[in-house]
């Protein structure tokens, strides 16, 4: 026969177990909702089922002479040297944003050729290249 103490302990452990499972379930569920996938322009072109209007990241190099600025926003073309995508953004850009430099834009796809960014990421260090972009460039340079 189980003593009262042991019973209490088993009860306590079951509570903890179920609580942790529920907590973990919620963590993972909201994690899945808030993941930002990173894609290159080529991946966007090739993928059939890319969701429009869902937050994501696009990265590549800012194409030379492609930046235009008007009253409302900044537009520029991001290329991975195979495919391109037009990005529109309004706000200030980070200091290392420049033509022929790597960039990561966070925002939503409007269609397969047009991306509306609400955040532009660049790094502190001018020699630094985001790992994703480095990979793309190395792949396409071959």
């Amino acid at each position: 026969m189980l003593t009262k103490k042991v019973k209490n302990r088993i009860l306590f452990l079951t509570y903890v177990f179920f609580f942790s499972i529920i907590a973990l379930f919620f963590i993972l569920k909201s994690l899945n909702k808030n993941i930002l996938y990173f894609s290159s322009p080529t991946e966007i072109k090739q993928k059939e089922d890319i969701p429009l209007g869902k937050a994501m990241r696009v990265g590549g190099m800012v194409k030379k002479d492609s930046i235009t600025v008007n009253q409302k926003n900044i537009q520029f073309i991001v290329t991975d040297f195979e495919n391109e995508i037009l990005i529109s953004y309004s706000g200030t850009v980070p200091n290392l944003f420049a033509e022929e430099k790597g960039v990561v834009a966070e925002g939503k796809l409007s269609d397969k050729n047009f991306f509306i960014a609400d955040r532009i990421l660049a790094k502190h260090d001018e020699n630094y290249m985001p790992p994703e972009i480095k990979e793309i460039i190395e792949k396409n340079a071959k």
Binding site: A23, F26, I27, L28, S30, L31, K33, N34, I35, L36, Y37, F38, S39, A55, R57, I67, T68, V69, N70, Q71, K72, N73, I74, S90, G91, T92, V93, P94, N95, L96, F97, A98, E99, V104, L121, A122, K123, H124, D125, E126, N127, Y128, P130, P131, E132
Partner: protein
């Protein structure tokens, strides 16, 4: 020349470490009750030499001695004096030397100040701390030597990244390092305590002060980093849930949990294994954070130049540390029986630990998930801020309520305590929240709960302060102040989040932009020459149309010469009730300037309340008698 001196000093520290370990293990065998004088001397010499090596590096930077690769790569003759010194730890190699300095200094101080504790425990602590020191010394010598010479000596250095030339960022690394590396001493002490069977109350007393010191510095370091990000990165935010920021938060959760459960160990002599686990994991998490930041596997806005070979070494060292810590723990730990009453102080402190553990796991999953997914499926993802907000913020509500009522309970067993104070505070909190809700704007149910809980904690803390001041119970004040600071922090962040204004647009010089309440007039630009940069300064006139108030804001675009870099300096007008924040940037030399205008209510109060949390910690350090 300096290179030889530096390397000589480092090698003598290395030899001294070996000697310390050797003579300490010899001394373990002797029957004498006191530690041999020679060990004190060795440790003192070790500390002196380490500090000297750091001073050597500082001299290298001050004299712009470009025969050192490190100075050549990170300094420049025209750099202001202050940043020449700060440049010493503004790079990987120099900061590693600072890291070792802190390891060594803490090792010595722990040896000297804990003379009342058992000899065996102190010697083991010294041995483990020196093993850590050796590990990092080898890393320094083999992979990241700040004293590597360069030949022929270059005439001019490359300069320090301008974005780092900032007072907040000059003091940010030393603060964080004292916080993170300071954890090493109770990592060693925990291992020593397991091996020498020196647990319980006495162990808690021996590490108490060190835990508080590193907690204070960690908190302060994180706040200073956050302030820097606010005015330097130009987004107007102060916390981005960026992987690197998160990495600094991991040890902080662990150490906060440790600080609380340590009280239980000291007063009730229980929870010993859990305290040991927290001691071990705090330093392990600090090293994990360093690994993540330095190896460059994280895609972060804060990533500095990184080198995978560093990552491999740290990872190796880290696995060794975790493996040996776990082995010793499972070999030596003893089972304990817990009989906690639900209505007791220990239960509430445990609740704090549960929350901290939950926050820690959440942030850890957020950091590691992208890395695992990348390795397993080669999919690149990042975890957005909404994840952390959704998972963490709802739990802050019960957390704050427990923070207010938990400390009221007695040890072992208390009566039901629903005092008039709690009822009064809750009613007032609901009232104030309704007032804000109706008069300033509507917000979600969750925000309502957050505000109510925060105001409840604030009011309850104020009542506590009033009571304790009249009773002259000064030793309770530090805890109340820290808890009050946390309540205020959450409250002001909530207000700031709900009532911020943000406008993005592009303007030519001379144009005017009108928003609902404000008119922004881009009057003109002027050029300013400074010692190591040129600046384009925009002149903005900001008019509040409702109140007819005028403000002038002058954001800058700076072009630094060494190395040639562009930075955008935000113009910030800080008022008691809100900050006006304006940044301007320019791409491809177009006529249009990109403007970001923000109004951030109670910004200054976020810093004040965060500093208040730290202040509570420092105050507790200064008081002789602590709360029981």
């Amino acid at each position: 020349m300096l290179s030889n001196i530096g390397i000589g000093l480092i090698i003598s520290v290395l030899i001294l470490s070996f000697l310390t370990i050797y003579s300490a293990s010899l001394d373990l065998e002797t029957s004498s009750q006191t530690i041999k004088k020679s060990i004190y001397k060795l440790s003192l010499f070790q500390t002196t030499f380490t500090i000297l090596s750091f001073l050597t590096l500082i001299i290298g930077f001050l004299n712009s001695d470009f025969s050192l690769v490190n100075v050549y790569e990170n300094s420049h003759t025209e750099k202001p004096f202050f940043y020449k010194i700060a440049g010493t730890w503004g790079n990987h190699e120099g900061s590693l030397l600072l890291w070792i300095n802190i390891l060594v200094i803490f090792s010595y101080l722990f040896l000297v100040f804990n003379h009342t504790h058992a000899k065996k425990f102190r010697l083991y602590t010294l041995i483990f701390q020196n093993i850590l020191i050796l590990g990092f010394l080898f890393f320094l010598l083999l992979n990241s030597n700040p004293f590597s010479p360069i030949y022929p000596t270059p005439p001019e250095g490359l300069g320090l990244n301008p974005i780092l030339q900032d007072p907040a960022l000059a003091i940010h690394p030393p603060l964080l390092y004292v916080g993170f590396v300071g954890c090493s001493i109770y990592f060693s002490a925990a291992m020593a305590s397991l091996l020498s069977n020196y647990g319980g109350k006495l162990f808690a007393q021996s590490i108490k002060t060190w835990v508080k010191i590193s907690w204070c510095f960690q908190t302060l370091g994180i706040i200073v980093g956050s302030i820097w990000a606010y005015y330097e990165l130009g987004w107007g935010g102060f916390w981005f849930w960026d992987p690197v920021e998160n990495a600094s938060l991991l040890p902080w959760f662990a150490i906060t949990a440790l600080m609380h459960s340590l009280i239980v160990l000291e007063k009730r002599n229980t929870l010993y294994p859990w305290v040991i686990i927290l001691c071990l994991s705090t330093f392990i998490l600090s090293v994990i954070g360093t690994f993540l930041v330095r190896s460059g596997i994280l895609n972060s806005v804060h990533t500095f130049a990184s080198d995978p070979s560093r990552g491999v070494y740290i990872l190796l060292f880290l696995s060794l540390m975790i493996f040996s810590a776990l082995t010793i723990f499972f070999m030596k730990h003893k089972k304990e029986n817990y009989n906690f009453n639900l209505k007791s102080k220990e239960t509430f402190i445990l609740a704090n630990n549960w929350f901290m553990a939950f926050f820690l796991v959440t942030v850890l999953i957020g950091i590691l998930y992208p890395i695992f997914l990348d390795v397993l499926t080669n999919t690149k993802i990042s975890v957005g801020p909404p994840f952390f907000n959704i998972v963490i913020i709802p739990l802050v509500v019960p957390f704050m309520i427990l923070m207010a009522i938990g400390p009221k309970f007695n040890w072992i067993k208390s009566q039901n305590k629903i005092s008039y104070k709690i009822i009064f505070s809750i009613l007032c909190a609901i009232g104030i929240n309704l007032f804000i809700f109706y008069f300033f704007g509507e917000y979600s149910l969750l925000s309502n709960l957050i505000f109510i809980a925060a105001i409840f904690l604030i009011l309850h803390s104020f009542l506590d302060i009033k009571k304790n001041i009249s009773k002259k119970n000064r030793y309770k004040l530090p805890r109340i102040i820290s808890h009050l600071g946390f309540g205020l922090l959450v409250f002001f962040i909530g207000i700031n989040h709900q009532f911020s204004l943000e406008e993005d647009f592009n303007l030519k010089v001379g144009e005017i932009k009108k928003t609902d309440n404000y008119e922004i007039n881009f009057q003109d630009i002027k050029i300013k020459e400074s010692k190591n940069y040129k600046a384009v300064i925009g002149n903005f006139k900001l008019t509040n149309l409702k109140k007819n108030l005028v403000e002038y804001l002058e954001p800058e675009i700076r072009i630094y010469s060494n190395p040639e870099t562009l930075t955008y300096e935000a113009a910030i007008k800080t008022k008691i009730t809100s900050d006006f924040y304006l940044t301007m940037s320019n791409v491809s030399r177009s006529d249009y300037y990109n403007i970001k205008f923000q109004k951030k209510p109670f910004m200054v109060w976020i810093w004040v309340s965060a500093l208040m949390i730290t202040f509570g910690g420092f105050m507790q350090l200064s008081l002789k008698k602590n709360e029981d």
